[in-house]
Amino acid sequence: MGRLRREKSEKTIQGKEMTVLKTVLVLAGIWGILLAVGAVPGISFSEEAVLGEAGLLCAFLCSLFLFQREWVLKAAAGTCLACVLAGFIGIETVRVQAGALLMSLADASAETETDVTYVMLLITAVLSVCFFLLEIVWKHHLLPGAVVMGVLAGAPVFGISLGAAPILLGLVFQILLWTVQGTERQRKQMNHGKKIKRRMTGRGSAFMGTVLSILVCVSLVLTSVWGQEISRLVYAGEGFFLRNAQQIAGRANDPAADGRISSGNNYRTGEPQLEVTLQEKPTETLYLKGFTGGNYIGGEWEPADDRSIFHEMALALNWEKWESWIRSVYYSLYFSVNEMTAEEPVQPGTIFLKHVSNEYHTMYVPYYSRWITQRESFGLGYGFNYYREEELDIRWDNVPKDYEMARDWYRAVQNAYMEEIPDAYVQVSEEELPKLTELCRNNPLDSLDQVTAFILTVLQSHASYTLTPGRAPFNEDIVEYFLFDSHKGYCVHFASAAALMYRLYGIPARYASGYALQPSDFVQQEDGTWTLEVTDESAHAWTEIFLEDYGWTPVEVTPASDGSYSTSYPGLDTEGLEELISTMNLNRDISEESGETEETVQDTGKDRQEGFSADSWEFRVDWERYHDFILVAGTVLAESLVLLPLFLDYRRLRRRKKLEQMSCRKVFGRFMDMVHFAGYLTGCSGTEADFSEKMAEELPCITLKEAERLVMIVSCAAYGKKGADEEENAFVRKIYFCTGEWLTGEIRGFRKLYFRYFKAFY
């Protein structure tokens, strides 16, 4: 058998209604995109102008497609050319506005809002032309569908909070146009030599529209009720995948040894990382620091590098020759001085650490410690002697005479270090953190305890602890997003926020990560030692501040699972802190000039439009935003209601005029519809032998003679050699109008209105 092909019309002919419907659906897709783009923080454009342009362009192309199809491509090309020319003419405007648009996409923290109407007009024109050509001329739904879905699905990645409108418009565009494209299969039908154009009826589209409406309602309810739970399925899935991927790739090691602040969820594998052995059971949380954050840049902590500080210290102390010695002095300073000066000598604790992976790229160091041994070149790990925080009691004057020189050296090193760290560890890029800077600036505080109380107040009121806070948009700073948008996070977010706030108040602070070991997790061995197999579930991040005579001291700012805070550091009055927190009155104005409240600032980023709240999964509509639209729509609706009777009467008269031009067979068909609607001659099709008698009997306005003549005229017109003449047609019309008048008098109530105006029978 040779080639086989389905017969297709040489020139595809579409129904006008379908073309108009598809144009409207295309417009819906474009509108959805415009709403999504309009929600980009930092830009604004006249939605009315841009949407109006898209509507006019689509309507123009649709008209051309229906009446002058050969001009569509030329018009499309002309439009694109006009856009290019307009772009060249307003090159500077385009450059500025396009730059602003791209910048807004790249950085959501832009404070100023740029009007990008001009560039959006150009983009929309090109988009409208492309969509129209693809969907209606070339019947290619895949690419436009992918673009619309891509824009909608990708919007949250750019920090764009989508409302209900773009989603619903996108859905209508995606599904209904897909259905229309799929069901609209036209073909040339050959039937007895006649080419009959056929097309899929609108029933399929109507069915899909109905199904879509129902499903949207169901989905809205489900999302409102179980949105969080459904989201957790994503977390569970991602967690399962990542855990397995990490285990397979062997990347589950050292999860706490970098300064990257995760913008996603924290999935723990439970894989053992360290084997820790203590001589005595610890009495407080034992922090093992593996990473110390220095500068905070681009949502990431750079490793703290004290070498420049030590160099400066060497210069200040005139110890250039012993610069390398400063480092080792400093790292064991507090352990050594405490050992040397403590009023009552305390036996330091001993800790041995062994990395399960036997890879020792990162060392985990306890606070107030001193390196004691290197067990068989790390084969069995490494160890420290350390003091607990409560055991630290440095009394500079309480030293034996022989150690006075050493004490002076240690003291000089501490003083020199304290001189240098304000330059290194109070730096914050205010451009990167405008909201946080504004928050701290608007709440001036003096003492460390007040700052700590402020930080805890902010964290308590603005953030909740979860390992699955979701993912942050790539163009937003993770700390600001954590504090001002998502309000959810885990240790790295709490520790980073606190460290940055300390720094903004001029208190040297650093971000630290490693492991936090709870005393209750240790198990006593037969030899009397206490051991713990540390998994990544103990990985933790915390803030450290510099305290005189303590050095870098861990400050726990992450709440416990019950939401309580156990923040402490030497010298902190816990009760006083509680009191400070309870009396802390946050000045929540972040932007005093604009008068926006903190919540308002959040909303500009997240909830720029109606639809869904970012904080909850409840559906809500921002009526304020669409006040004008609702007003206009209401006015149009009211006017329509007023004008509806006039329109219906006009339509009725037009139908009547049309009827006067119809052939007698068509008039008879309408006559039968009319009498059936009125409840007469039901069950009769007009072909019955006794139809004339029945008609005369049921419709008193028609005599038997008239009925017989009517039937004869119509029968002759249908089956005779020649059609009815004008006089016969006029007779049939006369019977129709006569019957219509009589039926109008017979029918009562709403059916009469329906009969007269909606059906327009008479």
Binding site: G154, P166, I167, R203, G204, L220, V234
Partner: protein, 366 residues
């Protein structure tokens, strides 16, 4: 593929919706995932309500010319069917069926879909439907069911009329002529000869008396019937010959018969039946009968076993000296070669060449 791409898109949306806690995207995801489920059910529903069969059981076609066949779709459901795919196999002679697919829709309770096809070889093609897939409106899912319908496409050769011209008689045909009326029995004044019954002979021609006497079927051949007639014997089909040579043979046969019909009132065509040694006959008087001849020929002639072929080649069934058409496209009058056609230039030879056929000979039957 489309289903998996759509599913991948949905999972991407789901991931973004969950990760970025976007309720709007979650609504989008849920709506579309439910829609997928609805589409799955819809595909089953539509499948259960659709019946598709071939529009005709028999379709006539001409080699290398497009022909139209149809599918009749009956949709008993309330919803229109936007897309279905019918798989069928096309069996050509003894070859294994070639799988084909056609797509259609059924927006109305009953729809007829027309398809255009082109046959490249003469013969009978059998279209046998195997299964039917009915798709949902997004063409994501399909319901499948088995169908068993059959349609036959009879493909005739292209018509080229050979130019046959009368020529002086050829003497060597007399012996065949003499063999007539040697049988005894009835009144032979009108009967030209009595011969054995062959398939295709009319019942009214049976010589009942002779048949009763001899116990074998005999038919009467009248003078009027044989007058202005010519007999053409077709050489048995060679199994080893390909489709192309078969097509050439049929084209030649059609051309010769059509050409002869311009000169005589009828052509008696004889050929060997399938699987036995019986000679089959078909009288052709016009183009319609000529097409019937081919239909009959396709059905009955399907090659002969080698052992029978040699026997059949010389078994003229009392038609020695009649025209012969061999499979190597040679046209004989008895043993005299009229013309040997070439496969490559057959159409040209049929169209442009004139063939001088002797007159006064029995071949013309007068």
């Amino acid at each position: 593929m489309k289903k998996f791409a759509f599913l991948a898109l949905l999972f991407f949306i789901f991931y973004i919706a969950g990760m970025y806690e976007s309720p709007a995207l979650m609504v989008l995801f849920l709506t579309q995932i439910f829609l997928m489920a609805v589409m799955g059910v819809l595909a089953v529903y539509l499948k259960n309500h659709l019946l598709v069969s071939f529009g005709e059981e028999l379709v006539w076609a001409e080699k290398d010319c497009p022909f139209t066949w149809s599918l009749r779709a009956e949709n008993s459901g309330r919803l229109p069917i936007s897309r279905f795919c019918m798989s069928f196999r096309v069996y050509e002679k003894k070859k294994a069926g070639k799988k084909r697919k056609v797509y259609g829709d059924c927006p109305d309770p009953e729809s007829t879909l027309f398809f255009e096809d082109t046959a490249v070889h003469c013969g009978i093609y059998i279209f046998r439907s195997e299964n039917l897939r009915v798709y949902d409106y997004l063409a994501l899912f399909s319901g499948k069911k088995k169908t068993e319908n059959e349609m036959r496409v009879i493909v005739f050769p292209k018509k080229y009329q050979a130019q046959a011209e009368p020529a002086p008689a050829f003497s060597g045909r007399e012996e065949a002529y003499q063999k007539t009326s040697t049988l005894s029995g009835n009144d032979y004044s009108e009967i030209r000869q009595v011969r054995e019954y062959r398939d295709g002979d009319s019942v009214r021609c049976i010589h009942w008396n002779q048949t009763a006497r001899t116990g074998q079927m005999w038919v009467k051949e009248y003078e009027e019937e044989t007058k202005g007639q010519v007999s053409l014997y077709l050489e048995p089909k060679d199994q080893s010959s390909g489709d192309a040579s078969g097509d050439s043979f049929y084209t030649l046969l059609y051309g010769i018969v059509s050409g002869l019909l311009e000169q005589v009132s009828a052509v008696q065509v004889y050929w060997a039946g399938k699987g036995d040694t019986k000679i089959l006959k078909k009288e052709v008087r016009d183009d319609r009968q000529c097409r019937e001849l081919f239909f009959f020929l396709y059905q009955t002639e399907d090659g002969l076993p080698e052992e029978k072929k040699s026997k059949r080649n010389t078994d003229y069934g009392g038609l020695e000296g009649a025209m012969r058409l061999t499979r190597d496209l040679s046209w004989y009058a008895g043993d005299r070669l009229i013309y040997r056609f070439s496969e490559e230039k057959l159409e040209e030879e049929l169209t442009h060449k004139s063939f001088r056929i002797w007159t006064g000979d029995r071949l013309w039957g007068d």
